[in-house]
Symmetry: C2
Subunit: 389 residues, 2 copies
């Protein structure tokens, strides 16, 4: 009775290790989580206040399927003020988390049998979104030498007559790396010549270190329009609204009606109080809080990258965004992460969720935990690695 | 570049008439809405309080994909205490509204090309859920004589070798009618003999009048198991949590792992504060509030059914659930509903969203509005109908 789709979805291997971690914790072990993709900060206070106020004011009824007009306008304005990018409010679609945005984009763009390019390593759910739409995943094996991001040549090589588009993520999960503007522009322009689409995951956009955040929606130097591009974003990571399940997408005009119909049919609307709360995200006082948090993430990242070699570990490439370091495992990462958890009570994530091919060679360290805990974890990792190697 | 799926979805015609209603309102007209599928009551106070408390306590982080264990246990217990039905907490899946439950059920059960039976008239989005999974919709034209619910003979007649299952709704939208227990049991048993599945929409379950609420999950008289049935429910209608986007499903054990993988991949988790708030739904004080509201709906229903003939209108069948009356339109319902709106500022919904075949003959009146407003609306409808007929 089970559909082939539901049988083909890989379980998250990370859940296994997190279950083991929970068991250890129940046994009284002090487990340090460097595992999850969730900021360790609470809701920014102005956002929590706006949420409570919305509830008090009875703002708990359905909204339009595409979201509150005020929020769509605020987001459009933010693209202008923050990135100098021109986005009309009509192009902004509020979604129940970036997940729903990825779903709408895939359902609106992919026909059964269409090939879609995904990068390996990458976010494991992307494969499921493509397959749910009936698409066939073609993988680009991205290289550490290129910052775990695709080059134009790799895209061109992977593209076949059946390929309809590509999904990119910058900063990327699990690698924390960003694609360079030049390469991205070249890919965007070339994909346009093929009549293909680009789905661009920018959910970690505002969490980057060392250089300014970017968006695909900025004007292309070639003047090429972005009508073949869909941008996905989220209130979860930078704004810390994970459990409120809210995100947004920016879509070309031609996609608006199809996506409105999908949204009406498949979800009715995103969470109403979450939408009212999200309006507070763009207040200066919230942005100040989030920038201070970004600075904290930046310090942790710097510490981690400096100390990893001292415990016998090496980060892959230059992780300058998100809150992940994708590191080389001393031996098979499934076993290594399990050993690290069992002996040192440090929970990291083996690579096989993110990469079919190289997953055993790598593991993901999340620095969504306090500097103090990260220091402790590194000490423990050092003890383990020095004993083993 | 648009997928065939996204092009094939019908727009909601109701949106057109609601837009017209908005325009009239902006022109200063006093529009009475008998149009929407949303209770006119605010959040029950204990639910609003629980929601605010959850936010204050920082319960805004991701939960498990299947939902909070406490909530799953509470719902399982409610099936026992309210319906005497045995449901284990492990079978309960918390979803982002019933919409997401319908989506998971379809994706878990339907392969591309599988036929699925839907009733006409019915909830228009059901077709989209089936099609998103690649399924092919086969329609059972249900009859007013049978309370707009299918008979076993109709199901048997519509079933082909390609048919894999059927979606039922009781009480149904737009008709407000329920399927009789006997017919339902016969259908459930017969579909089991065909190796098929049943997706049962019970989102209006607790909103019924004149006789007790029922669930498919009660023991079948034949002793037939219910392992081929998925039940969909919602916190939106009876508990008034529409904009919080929360629902649940009860699934057979065999579906749990596939649906957990779908949930992890496609949504991460349902809204966390909404889940904590939903726990308060099952407190006696909340149930008392909701029962008082049900009584208010019951009074409106009674008034409406009594008065409709006096304004020249006739309800189809016996609408003893939800908050809808599906009535015969004096002439083509698209034109009739438009005329009623333009001349009398009463907004109802033409039937074509709900029925391909008979839609023009019928229209939907929602009594999710105060008795006073319903009285006013009926006066206006009487003026219009007496003038026209």
């Amino acid at each position: 009775m089970l559909s082939r789709l539901s049988q083909s979805i890989e379980p998250f291997h990370v859940m296994e290790i997190v279950k083991q971690a929970d068991q250890l914790q129940q046994q009284g072990r002090d487990v340090i989580h460097l595992s999850i993709g969730e900021p360790d900060f609470p809701l920014p206070e102005p956002v929590a206040q706006a949420l409570t106020q919305a509830i008090g004011a009875g703002k708990t009824r359905y909204t339009a399927a595409l979201g509150l007009q005020e929020l769509r306008e605020t987001i459009a304005h933010f693209y202008d003020s923050r990135f100098g990018a021109t986005v009309s409010p009509g192009q902004v679609v509020i979604t129940s988390g970036a997940s729903t945005g990825l779903m709408y984009a895939c359902l609106a763009l992919i026909n059964p049998g269409d090939e879609v390019l995904l990068c390996d390593p990458g976010y494991p759910c992307n494969k499921t979104f493509v397959q749910t739409a009936g698409g066939v995943v073609r993988t680009i094996q991205v290289s550490e030498d290129n910052n775990f991001q695709p080059t134009l040549a790799e895209v061109q090589e992977a593209w076949t007559p059946k390929t309809q588009g590509i999904l990119l993520a910058s900063p990327s999960n699990p690698t924390g790396t960003r694609i360079s503007s030049n390469v991205l522009n070249d890919i965007v322009d070339w994909v346009a010549t093929q009549g293909g689409f680009i789905i661009m995951d920018e959910i970690y956009q505002l969490l980057c270190y060392g250089s300014q955040p970017r968006t695909l929606l900025s004007q292309s130097p070639s003047g090429q329009t972005r009508d073949h591009c869909v941008v996905i974003n989220s209130f979860s990571k930078y704004f810390g609204m994970t459990g409120l399940r809210l995100g947004w997408m920016v879509v070309p005009e031609a996609l608006l009606t199809p996506i409105e119909k999908l949204a009406q049919n498949l979800n009715i609307c995103p969470s109403t109080p979450a939408q009212w709360a999200a309006l507070a995200c763009f207040k200066q006082e919230t942005l100040d809080i989030c920038e201070a948090r970004r600075a904290a993430f930046g310090n942790r990242r710097e510490f981690l990258l400096r100390e990893l070699p001292n415990v016998g570990l090496h980060a892959g490439s230059n992780p300058d965004g998100a809150f992940y370091v994708y590191a080389h495992a001393p031996y098979g990462s499934s076993q290594y992460c399990s050993d690290l958890l069992q002996t040192q009570a440090v929970c990291t994530v083996p690579g096989k969720d993110f990469s079919q091919k190289e997953g055993e060679a790598m593991f993901r360290i999340s620095y969504a935990n306090s500097l103090e805990r990260i220091e402790q974890a590194l000490q423990r990792m050092g003890q383990f690695n020095c004993r083993e190697i």
